[in-house]
């Protein structure tokens, strides 16, 4: 069982060691710091998505939460009356996470109360979010599409000067949400709902309430990720999250969480994030064009999903 749970950890370690040995300049301190800095925000948003995928659902709106958060965050930090005051950075952080939570609440209600399939509900909120991000961008940034010049204190969150800060934030979030999934009642009930919601309901699990909370967590963590991405890029860019979805969903699926729900976890997603970012980093260092990287990621997701199915059938071979 140990092997099956942590297969991706071994694959990651093998790739990592190959990277160290064969890819030149990979082992340099600058590159490793960069690699970990890039892992941090992806781990935060993918941890949130893992909760939703464990119920067999999906959350498209994470990308537009990242975009909208970065636009409003930049505006608050640079142009709004709030800019420059000591209160600016903490308040902006609260507002961005608040936006994520708001999206989460809307998605949660749509899926648990209105019984909408999660991929269409979050698709429509994603479209609304993306539209708002670019619209606010064109209004708030007076003509220019994006807005730079964020205060140093805020950019530190993205790893400028203190490269370890985003890694620390991501690790803390990972530990909290991994603990919550493995050790708390809520976490264990998620696995039950993911496998068979009717048995869960008969056993007294508040199915609707828990499903609602999954989306709130996913939205909130997407907000936190938006803060790190905006700080890292030092600018509010309305199209920040657009190309990220394959990385987010890829880390969850490649990590080993079953897209049909009920199996996997935040630990698997950590391995998925480490592995996927490693692939991008190594391919970049080898000078391979960006669109090859996209292609390889798509192929990895398919391969991981098929492997996962084979493992699951092996496990339940004696299924009556």
């Amino acid at each position: 069982m140990f092997l099956q749970d942590n297969i991706m950890l071994f694959v990651f370690l093998v790739f990592f060691i190959c990277g160290m040995l064969f890819v030149d300049k990979f082992a340099s301190a600058y590159n490793i710091k960069n690699y970990l800095k890039n892992c941090a925000p992806l781990l935060v948003v993918s941890t949130g998505l893992t909760y939703v995928v464990l119920n067999g659902g999906i959350d498209f709106s994470t990308t537009s939460i990242i975009s909208l958060g970065s636009v409003l965050g930049a505006h608050l930090l640079v142009e709004s009356p709030l800019a420059g005051t000591p209160l600016a950075v903490p308040l902006t952080i609260l507002i961005i996470v608040g936006i994520g939570l708001a999206f989460g609440v809307v998605n949660g209600l749509a899926v648990s109360r209105l019984k909408m399939p999660s991929f269409v509900a979050t698709l429509s909120t994603q479209l609304i979010g993306a539209g708002l991000a670019v619209w606010f961008g064109s209004i708030l940034f007076e003509g220019a599409v994006s807005l730079g010049g964020l205060p140093e204190a805020f950019r530190a969150i993205g790893g400028r000067g203190m490269f370890w800060l985003p890694i620390l934030i991501a690790t803390v979030i990972f530990v909290i949400f991994n603990w919550m999934l493995c050790k708390t009642v809520f976490g264990k009930q998620i696995y039950a709902i993911g496998v068979n919601p009717r048995t869960a309901e008969v056993s007294g699990v508040p199915v609707k309430k828990n499903i609602f909370l999954l989306f709130v967590i996913s939205g909130g963590l997407a907000g936190v990720a938006s803060i790190i991405y905006t700080a890292k890029n030092g600018a509010g860019v309305p199209t920040m999250g657009d190309a990220m979805f394959i990385d987010i969903v890829g880390s969850v699926v490649i990590g080993g969480t079953d897209p049909a729900g009920g199996f996997g976890g935040v630990k698997n997603t950590l391995y998925g994030v480490l592995f996927l970012t490693l692939v991008s980093n190594i391919l970049n260092l080898m000078g391979i064009e960006w669109f090859y990287v996209d292609l390889i990621k798509g192929a990895l997701v398919i391969a991981a999903a098929v492997l996962n199915l084979i493992f699951k059938n092996l496990g339940a071979r004696g299924r009556a």
Partner: protein, 337 residues
């Protein structure tokens, strides 16, 4: 319990690596300084946004040719497909590969600031190719730019004087590029300034249509714009990239005709790339502010070399004043751009 150990193992390992990475820091710098003396060979990282327009294809080709010509330059390339976040990561990877200089066509003028700061910290010169950084957000080592505003302003001024001579007045539809690109904003402001200053009663900008440098958005905007203002008889194209959708839209409403014919729509454009030259030759285009892609490409490589060698530049921004090609002077200048 074993699962918990696995988690602790990964986190401990990554932190340890980061720590030991710290020690490796100083060795890298010493090794780098040794390099410049013996081998003359330099590596330059070229961060490309997209190759969707002839201008960029010509500019990129010029960089490659120039590097080959000089012989001692190897290029490392990365295409970002219009994603600012991806481009920043690519430039960070350039720095990781200890490139000697970075030539960058910014996907987004504001977001590129982060990459410029990284280069400054790493002591690697970064040259902005044709797309400037948003003022005040960062300071690249050099910027090779077209003087967009001035070129657009001159072009519009010439067209207005020409129309005054011929006693014509126009209702104009202005296409606008991606507002995140400093060039698009400067060109729009240049055209607008010339119309405000001289265009009284001659040229009236009736509608401005955003294109996002995307053919489909441009075509949809043009079709609906022409349908809502059928009396439009002039168009401003901020780049020769937009000739495709313009030709499609005008053919559909039967207004795709060369100068002199009855339902001709006067067009003025920018870039002066192959398509622009073709349109001038076929008589569909009145004027084209040509920025020489090749010249700018070469200037980037030369500036990079001089920065690597530590020479100081006359000024940070190197302006390519470009060449105003009009239907009058087309015959004489058509080979020089």
């Amino acid at each position: 319990m074993r699962k918990v150990t696995a988690v602790v193992l990964t986190i401990a390992m990554s932190l340890a690596l980061a720590a030991c990475g710290g020690k490796a820091e100083d060795t890298v710098t010493t090794e780098e300084s040794g390099k410049t003396e013996e081998a003359e060979n330099y590596t330059i990282g070229v961060a490309v946004d997209t190759l969707d327009t002839q201008f960029w294809i010509a500019n990129y080709q010029a960089i490659k040719d120039r590097a080959e010509e000089l012989g001692n330059i190897t290029l490392v390339e990365a295409i970002a497909s219009a994603d600012a976040n991806v481009q920043n990561q690519q430039i960070e990877d350039f720095i990781a590969q200890d490139v000697d200089a970075v030539i960058c066509m910014a996907s987004d003028g504001a977001a590129i600031a982060a990459a410029v700061d990284e280069c400054n910290e790493a002591g690697i010169p970064i040259i902005m190719n044709n797309r400037p950084v948003v003022e005040g957000t960062a300071d690249p080592d050099a910027q090779v730019l077209s003087d967009n505003k001035q070129m657009a302003y001159e072009e519009m001024k010439w067209f207005i004087e020409k129309s005054k001579e011929e006693g014509k007045s126009y209702k104009c539809l202005m296409l606008v590029g991606n507002l995140g690109d400093g060039n698009a904003v400067e060109r729009r402001d240049g055209y607008q300034a010339a119309v405000d200053e001289f265009g009284e009663g001659v040229v009236e900008i009736v509608l401005s249509v955003p294109t996002e440098w995307d053919h489909e958005v441009a075509l949809a905007g043009l079709q609906s714009g022409l349908a809502s203002n059928p009396d439009i008889d002039m168009m401003i194209l901020p780049s020769d990239f937009l000739w495709e959708p313009v030709q499609t839209a005008l053919t559909e409403v039967g207004k795709w005709a060369p100068i002199g014919e009855e339902n001709h729509v006067a067009c003025i454009s920018f870039d002066g790339d192959e398509t622009g030259r073709q349109m001038m030759a076929d008589g569909y285009c009145w004027a084209d502010a040509a920025q020489s892609a090749a010249l700018q490409g070469e200037t980037c490589v030369d500036t990079a070399l001089s920065l690597i060698k530590g020479e100081s530049l006359p000024s940070r921004d190197i302006k390519d004043s470009g060449l105003l090609v009009t239907c009058d002077n087309f015959e004489e200048v058509k080979d020089s751009f």
